[in-house]
Every structure is written in structure tokens, then in C-alpha cells.
């Protein structure tokens, strides 16, 4: 494959997709679209473990590409998108959910929330979609996101589901947000935002579609695999029992 192995990581697939249909069929569909990691919005760590019976400890950062390319089943990752009107509620939810989900995303509905999400250590991703695109056009958010190494997520579902009359407007707004990201060299990721079967597509298609709002083809590759995988692997490490700091763990007495 040109330019190394691409790991398709869809950071947002709605859990309703799994409710309505059988899990096996969804797995087949994910395999068809060559999605190797699927973050299910609303699935907690335990639910994800039950769903695919795939233990997260098996994932190794060094041999991940080879392992995934030969493996048949996609790896499910837990994720939650928090959207709250009340700022205090939002902060409480982030605090409460930190240990239950691999990826915590915040969909800000005000500028204050966006700035807070961009600098809070517990938040991994700040989501950007058609509902909050106007709020996300503040330059200060991206300075904070860069300083605190947060990723901005572009959901592609709004672009494909929008009416033809509003599609162009949305692409323009996305490109404005991307220009801020590019200026400040902030991490970003691309996700399907799939809430039904028709919204699912292979990640290479999203990468190509992202070129319409100015994302270079090479940057799109990073947005699909590198950023998402980095967040996931970092949080897997953090969520292991006895974690106190980067590479440091407390061994429990019971094991000895």
C-alpha cells in the first residue's frame, strides 16, 4: 500500500445502529468498509468488551498495523459524546464518565463550553458538526486546543445528509474551521458520525470527501488513523488498574 499501512478508525458510530440490527451483520459491514477500529458512541468499556469479546490488553502500539491487517473482526472502542446546556452539568458528566469510556468527546453549545473543553485534561475530542459549527469559528478555541493537545473532530454525516441548498454553506463553514486548525497546527480527526446504516462509508471515502473543505490528502490520512489511535492507546494505558502516571503503575498486593 502506498505511504504505509492505513488503519481505518471511525471515531463515531452511534449505538442505535447496533440496537436495531444484529451485531454480526454490522461486523460484516464494517469489514466491507475496511473499518478496523470503531468507536461506538454510548457503549461503555464493559459493553464493548462483551460485544466483541476482544480484550483491550491485547492491543500493542508497536505491532498494531500488522496485527489489524490480518485480523478479521474490527475492534470496538467505547466513546461518549457529551452535550449539555448547563456548564456545571457538563463538567460533572465529564468527571463521572472518565473511567467508563475510552474516548470522551464534548459537543459544545456555547463559546464558554468550547473553550473549557479545549483546555480540560479529561476531554479528548471537541466535536464539530452542523449544530455547533458557528460556535467553533472562534480562533481562541484552537490556541487552547493546541496548547492542551486536544483533537477537533469533523463529523462527515452532516455533509452527506444536508439538503443540496445548505450543503455548500456547510462546506464553507467547515473549511473556515479547518483554516484555523491548519494555521495553528491543531490535531484533528475525521469521523463518519453514522447514526444509521446509510451513513457508514469506508474511511478512504471520507478522506477524499474532506478534500472539498481543504484537507490535504496526506493530512486526511493522519486524521483517520494516527490521531484517533493515539488517543485510544493513551487512554487504554490510563484506564489500566494502578495507573499513576505515564508508564508508572502501582502493583497491587493481591497479585503478588
Amino acid at each position: 500500500m502506498k505511504g504505509g499501512v492505513i488503519i481505518s478508525f471511525d471515531v463515531y458510530i452511534d449505538k442505535n445502529l447496533f440496537k436495531k440490527n444484529e451485531l454480526d451483520s454490522i461486523i460484516h459491514l464494517l469489514q466491507l468498509f475496511e473499518i478496523e477500529y470503531a468507536a461506538i458512541n454510548g457503549y461503555s468499556i464493559n459493553m464493548v468488551r462483551k460485544a466483541n469479546n476482544h480484550y483491550l490488553e491485547e492491543v500493542d502500539i508497536e505491532n498494531t498495523p500488522e496485527k489489524r491487517s490480518t485480523s478479521a473482526s474490527p475492534t470496538f472502542v467505547s466513546r461518549i459524546t457529551i452535550k449539555e446546556k448547563n456548564d456545571r452539568e457538563l463538567k460533572n458528566k465529564v468527571r463521572n464518565y472518565r473511567n467508563d469510556y475510552h474516548i470522551i468527546a464534548v459537543e459544545p453549545i456555547s463559546e464558554n463550553q468550547a473553550r473549557w473543553a479545549a483546555r480540560d485534561g479529561r476531554v479528548d475530542i471537541v466535536t464539530c458538526n452542523n449544530h455547533n459549527i458557528a460556535i467553533m469559528q472562534q480562533e481562541s478555541i484552537y490556541s487552547l486546543a493546541k496548547a492542551h493537545s486536544k483533537a477537533i473532530e469533523f463529523q462527515m454525516k452532516p455533509i452527506i445528509t444536508a439538503k443540496k441548498s445548505t450543503q455548500g454553506k456547510l462546506v464553507r463553514q467547515y473549511s473556515k474551521v479547518y483554516s484555523y486548525i491548519k494555521q495553528r497546527n491543531v490535531k484533528f480527526c475525521i469521523s463518519s458520525g453514522a447514526e444509521e446504516i446509510h451513513h457508514l462509508k469506508e474511511m478512504d471515502t471520507w478522506r477524499t470527501l474532506a478534500t472539498i473543505f481543504g484537507v490535504e490528502y496526506s493530512k486526511g490520512k493522519e486524521a483517520i488513523n494516527k490521531t484517533c489511535l493515539e488517543i485510544y492507546l493513551r487512554n487504554v494505558e490510563r484506564l489500566k488498574p494502578g495507573y499513576i502516571g505515564e508508564g508508572m503503575f502501582i502493583e497491587s498486593e493481591e497479585e503478588e
Binding site: N21, D24, S25, I26, H28, L29, L32, F33, I159, I160, T161, K164, Q167, I197, H198, K201, E202, D204, T205, W206, T208, L209, T211, I212
Partner: protein, 118 residues
Amino acid sequence: MVKREKQRYLGFTILGPNKPTKREVNNEFWKEYTMLFGTIGAANSGMYLIEYDEEEKKGIVRIRHDMINNLTICCALMREINDQKSVVHRIGVSGTIKGVTKKMGEKVISEEIKDLFK
């Protein structure tokens, strides 16, 4: 001497409840491409639906090599064919018909997946 244009062939499959005809698929591709890139863009693309199997709902589209990304975008944005919800899934891209046919043969879409879109 006139330089021959390089071509790319895109293999696709349609996932959805209906079985559109070749003419309907062709019209949908042109409609979407024209809407996105304009009449001049569509005219310069050299897009042509080479083959379409109405039973299998698989086909091959030819396009100028530098416009293959535009065609992928078109496939992604196509939501309806003949006023019924459908998804156009890109199977593979190649420089030859033989290459793209091989890719299409490798990817078999199971009945379970087809049922999901009904």
C-alpha cells in the same frame, strides 16, 4: 501528436432496496457530478458508465485520471437513485478494466449486508 488521456476505472456497487436500470444509474452519476462541479467540469471529466449489471447492482465507471477524487466524492454524496434511498459503495479503482474487475471479484458482498439496506 495528440497525447492520449490517462483513464481510471472505478468499480462500484449499489446498496439499497431497489434495482435501478443502467440508464437511471448513468443519469444519477451525471446529475450528481454536474451539481457538484458544474456543467463544464462534468463535460471535461470524460465520465462514462462502461458496464452495469442490473441483477448484481455492480458497475464500472471510467473517468479522467486526475478527476478520480471528484468521482469518489460523487459516490459518497449520492443518497437516492430513482427517488429511493441507496448507497453507492466504491469497491476499487484501477487503471485497467481487468484490474478493477479483479478487485470487484475479490470483494463479495454477503446477503446479510444486502438485507441491512432493505
